[in-house]
Symmetry: D2
Subunit: 338 residues, 4 copies
């Protein structure tokens, strides 16, 4: 069976997912495209999916009879409405992050999905599909004993002028917020942010670096350095310390050179290269579940918790040094693990 | 366009390639299956390709109108005949190694393909598709200056009783023989084999370890340790030394643990895990070229040269210490690089 | 010229320093020994310094005409009095940590030395003499740009029953407290301590692990994990992140093995092995300066600041989560850097 | 007891050993200096050993009553005579390599020492005292099972115009020749040399790189790459493969940097830095043994075997590709291991 896919939003990521479905993955094809800019949708049609139908409105694409499942890749503020429409239509829906621009919006999606009674939504937290994080999780689960601490870093070589302090949470830390919950099978209970000496390479509107300190329900302490003008590379580090030992996230594969008086390995500088392979695995997971009329991977609930947690981190930025509590409603049974 | 594939030989590798085409790769489907044991073909049909037709004879599968391209995964002694039949039918053909059981047989395939005038055959040397070797080649081409030496090792934890000394060449070194030619864009001119002190873990019928010394037309010197009872793991090492520096093949990705008084990383022990990802890339390359009616990747000529070179290495085993010359006919223009 | 040394306290460290002077270092000899237990001093005399004279009282050893310089290796509570006596006698004095058991005591030593007008005291912070830390400092000074953050860990495999929570500061963190000041040429302005989930391997009277968060006058943020029941080894980690890059303290030299399906390096488990070589360098520095009638290396002021800073960290343990300010008087000119 | 030392030859290495004895090591002092250039000896006296007496002739220094032991650091052609004189005088004698300029000369020293009946000579093979090689030997003896193969490399960034092909053996490989015998407790039975493609950075009079293949009495196969224009650094590599696993010589300690899109560690470029610490250990070993009137460490026999083995390697260079046998007389009982 081939799953027929409609793609809403044909910008960089929507185009790339279309290419993925058409040229890389098994079991699906793109049959419908929509973008607020019709030229963008048409260009993707021409380049990658000549048999796909174009829709002016995302809602019509969702409603189309020959569309089995939907990818929401449009601008963030439109996500909530499209995802709710997909749930209403009973169609599996992959939604790029954020699930909604507010925690309340994310909760409306959770409520709708719970009312529907079956999982239909996968949120685009791709790190859970990264080969390195999967090896890390295996070691956390089987090698190091009970986890007690996480030391992590999220470093970008540089950020554009429009990147301001809260984006360090909403656009950068958001990935750690989700992936640590998955890695540790745990939730946050508090957040604190401290600001080290500012890098002279950071522009005026961003405090950089920052250190976020998180505490989980099980008492695990997490420190994450966010440093978006680190100059040297795009570098994601994660060390989990357990009762019996510790484990590090592997660096991306690279050759080791001996050259020019240096033993050296390349460090990536473009974030797009870092998790490139995980998008394939992520979307294949969506296609496989959609073929059965449901969804797998990161849930609406995960999207909602990420929203709640990142709101607390932004408050912790504003009240630097203070410990901000994080509390969650009970998790609906729909999101219990098998 | 979807390429329709017929698979001849449905043992371990034929079954796995069928799964790959049906469940992992884009752009192809298996429509025909054949095995000298009909039950094997039927089982693969049931499990992976319910719409595929079964053929008693590989020749009939090759001739079938709805088969665009052929995978030859049957036992080695049957390869030559099937590949020649595919060429005769003008169909792209992926052939697992060896291309033929003798250099003469491989040359007959080369001649047939040259007579046909267009590439149709891809030989299953998957290492060229391995992410690590691709990074290595990039460094060899751009980072280390003119290559002068290669130091390599091919180690297995253990081998079964039926593994005898010449298999260290035909089954083990054969991968290095091909991949170094590709890595260095060069051919061999001589081979020498020396036998170190034998491991007490090696059984009677195999000399183990062995060291193979190869010289190339450009004067590059290669030493390869073959050690098939090394106990500790399945480990492929390759270091290329150039005029400006040197580079090592990366080890497979693994987490680093600190545990039990050891900084430690897992080493694979099963060869099947080592190049697992490269099979996907290899076969996608075949599908993409087959969609255009041709073949890419390792050629019949590469298969022929591998046969000639490994025959010389076996002679070098038999005359240990002696330097055995290797000579090749001129390469047909069909196999010139773009 | 040979510097004549008197050693007060002939327990484990006093005996070892005697051996060092007699058998390893150039330019000094032990001529006097004293211990509250005369049998201990006599045993060291017999084993290592047969020509040394025994003194019942440390004060008499200090006053002895043929003693050029003094090592204070006795129990901590006696340090202050012996060091003050050495200053009064105008003799160079090496004092194992702590310089005094209270910050006030340490300040009395500072005042006495300032009144004397010349440096006479070296405190036994040996990490500054460790080859790894010296390489680290070189990189901090020349390679990574302005330092912004330090991520560190001090891990012991296990601790005895008598090790209680504040000892994590006074006996464990004390080394980091000193070495970071030296590494960064900076002082602390605040401390915070948080307690992760407790390891099940920690006994009742010690909270373990702990995370200490320090802020410096220049705004550098430091996080130190203290984990004294980490099981896997004695492991000292330190990463300094600067504006242009980051650098890690090297692990102690070890061979890399490939064995038993693991790439592996030994991690030390006994703290005594970790900085063993640095004691030689430290004491040679003392001997060299003593030959000129003065002292080098870590100063009384460093000992005093370590006392003030660790007192604040203990308060931060008691008020977990709170940020405790640290303030220092002005540094006397005697302790300015050349 | 203080061992009184006379130093013959006060060039770079003689001056450095004098400094070592005077300023670094315990238990010895330089009381006599001699050089064919009296100004050189006087300068060392002034700078490092004001109480030492100057001798015009090395023979007189050896004969001097107040000289307990002798360091021979003069030019190679004079070594044999001085060492024979020291043996005749019954004085412990440390001789820089080569022990003699011919195998016959070295054998004369062996014979004289055997006739004397007690060890008096230590040859300056300092690698046996290197911390890295000692860790390697420990692993070879206890971790990897019976050794079967050694893969090694000796690389210099560049060599001066006067460095010609045979010097790759006598000046470069000589260290490997000695240290592998010690590492493996074995002797060589044959040598072969092959010449890879020549580096364009090598001048006319040196074939570079070279690969030396050695076989030992126990059947161990050793390959050593000698590459003295490798450009990137001074780099000594050694991997020993045993029946149970393999082990690598550690690289010198260095910090790991993340900087400029590279994970990087410095590689030394000056050979003088590589084994600098091992000279201290080597000479302390000499002093300790000399205090007992004898010698330790590398023996005259080791110096003789190194001469025989390197002569065979030079012959193997001249007859490239040919396997040259190496044979030794029986080892005198004086050189048996305890």
């Amino acid at each position: 069976m081939t799953v027929t896919i409609g793609v809403i939003g044909t910008g960089m990521i929507g185009r790339d997912h279309t290419r993925r479905i058409q040229q890389v993955l098994a079991g699906a094809k793109v049959v419908a495209l929509s973008d607020y800019n019709p030229d963008s949708a048409r260009a993707v049609q021409v380049d990658l999916a000549p048999e796909a139908k174009l829709y002016e409105k995302g809602e019509d694409l969702i409603a189309a009879e020959d569309v089995d499942a939907v990818l929401v890749c449009s601008t963030g503020s439109t996500h909530e409405a499209y995802v709710l429409a997909a749930i209403a239509a009973g169609k599996p829906c992959f939604c790029e992050k954020p699930l909604a621009t507010t925690a309340e919006g994310a909760l409306r999606i959770v409520d709708a999905e719970v009312a529907h009674g079956k999982r239909l939504v996968q949120v685009g937290f791709m790190r859970r599909y990264d080969a390195g994080y999967r090896l890390l999780k295996q070691a956390v689960d089987h090698e190091i004993g009970t986890p007690l601490m996480v030391h992590a870093a999220h470093r970008n070589p540089t950020v554009p002028e429009q990147y301001v302090t809260p984006m360090a949470i909403h656009d950068t830390l958001i990935h750690e917020i989700d992936v640590f919950r998955w890695l540790l099978d745990d939730d946050y209970v508090s957040a604190q942010v401290v600001f080290p000496r500012k890098s002279s390479h950071a522009h005026d509107r961003v405090a950089d670096p920052q250190i976020v300190l998180l505490e989980t329900a099980k008492g695990i302490r997490i420190d994450v350095e966010i440093f978006v003008n680190c100059r040297y590379g795009y570098d994601i580090q994660c060390q989990v310390v357990g009762e019996e030992g510790l484990v590090n996230l592997p660096d991306p594969m690279a050759v080791t050179l001996r050259k020019a008086a240096r033993l050296q390995r390349e460090i990536l500088t473009d974030w797009k290269d870092r998790f490139i392979d995980s998008y394939d695995v992520e979307l294949q997971d969506f296609v496989t579940a959609a073929a059965k009329g449901t969804a797998a991977g990161p849930t609406s609930w995960d999207g909602y918790v990420a929203a709640i947690s990142s709101d607390a981190c932004v408050e912790a930025q504003e009240k630097s040094g203070q410990i901000i509590p994080i509390s969650l409603p009970d998790r609906p049974a729909l999101y219990d693990k098998g």
